[in-house]
């Protein structure tokens, strides 16, 4: 595997490092963001970046299971975005 994937592996590794650094940079907007919707948008971006990181990890290790992990992370990010955007307006989620 290592001899076959000689071209693919450095590209995927570099993109993995780039995506991890971008996730850390989006944490700046979570901490600094002036309003609550700014923080929700930044957390949504972090969730999208983590989906991409899981898919890249599936490419770099050759384990197809991590694609399923990225799908589950996408579902969790969507549900948490809906829940928080409902909470900041209504004050509660389930009446």
């Amino acid at each position: 595997m290592a001899s076959e994937a000689s071209l693919l592996e450095p590209v995927v590794n570099a993109t993995l490092i780039l995506a991890a650094a971008l996730t850390l940079l989006a944490g700046y907007r979570v901490i600094k963001g002036p309003t609550v919707p700014d923080r929700v948008v930044a957390l949504d971006t972090i969730a999208t970046n983590v989906v991409a990181i899981a898919a890249l990890f599936a490419l770099v290790t050759g384990e197809g299971l991590f694609v399923t992990v990225s799908l589950v992370l996408a579902i969790i990010g969507f549900i948490s975005t809906i829940a928080v955007s409902q909470y900041v307006v209504e004050g509660d989620i389930i009446e």
């Binding site: 076959e4 994937a5 071209l7 693919l8 590209v11 995927v12 570099a14 993109t15 780039l18 995506a19 971008l22 996730t23 940079l25 989006a26 700046y28 907007r29 309003t35 609550v36 919707p37 700014d38 929700v40 948008v41 930044a42 949504d44 971006t45 999208t48 970046n49 989906v51 991409a52 898919a55 890249l56 599936a58 490419l59 197809g64 299971l65 694609v67 399923t68 990225s70 799908l71 996408a74 579902i75 969507f78 975005t81 809906i82 955007s85 409902q86 900041v88 307006v89």
Partner: protein, 115 residues
């Protein structure tokens, strides 16, 4: 796995990393919550979808590759929905626009009626 296959996967991964970079820089640099939501919901979703498409090319049309296609469809369905909900809650909270060129359409109609 031959060279062309590897080249296609590497090109899709590079395109995905580029769009993730554009989306996160837009999230940090734009002045307004609506502009930031635009950058993150379009560009970052395109980046993640391109990387999942690279997973589909890598794994083929069965098993994990099919799961990658389901992930692309899920991201394209849920990212606009989530962005719409966040912007709607920001408007209900009264988060203002950056600058005074942009307005909500209903406010403009009320102002022209009162004039």
């Amino acid at each position: 796995m031959n060279t062309i296959h590897q080249l296609v996967v590497a090109a899709l991964v590079v395109v995905g990393g580029f769009f993730l970079l554009v989306g996160t820089v837009g999230l940090i640099r734009f002045p307004d919550v609506y502009n930031r939501m635009h950058a993150s919901s379009k560009a970052a979703t395109l980046g993640a979808s391109s990387i999942l498409l690279a997973g589909f090319v890598y794994y083929g049309p069965q098993g994990a590759g099919l799961t990658s296609l389901v992930g692309i469809v899920f991201l394209f369905l849920t990212a606009p929905t989530g962005a719409h909900l966040i912007s709607r809650s920001a408007q209900k909270m009264g988060v203002p626009f950056f600058g005074d060129e942009a307005r909500w359409p209903r406010e403009e109609a009320e102002e022209s009626r009162s004039d």
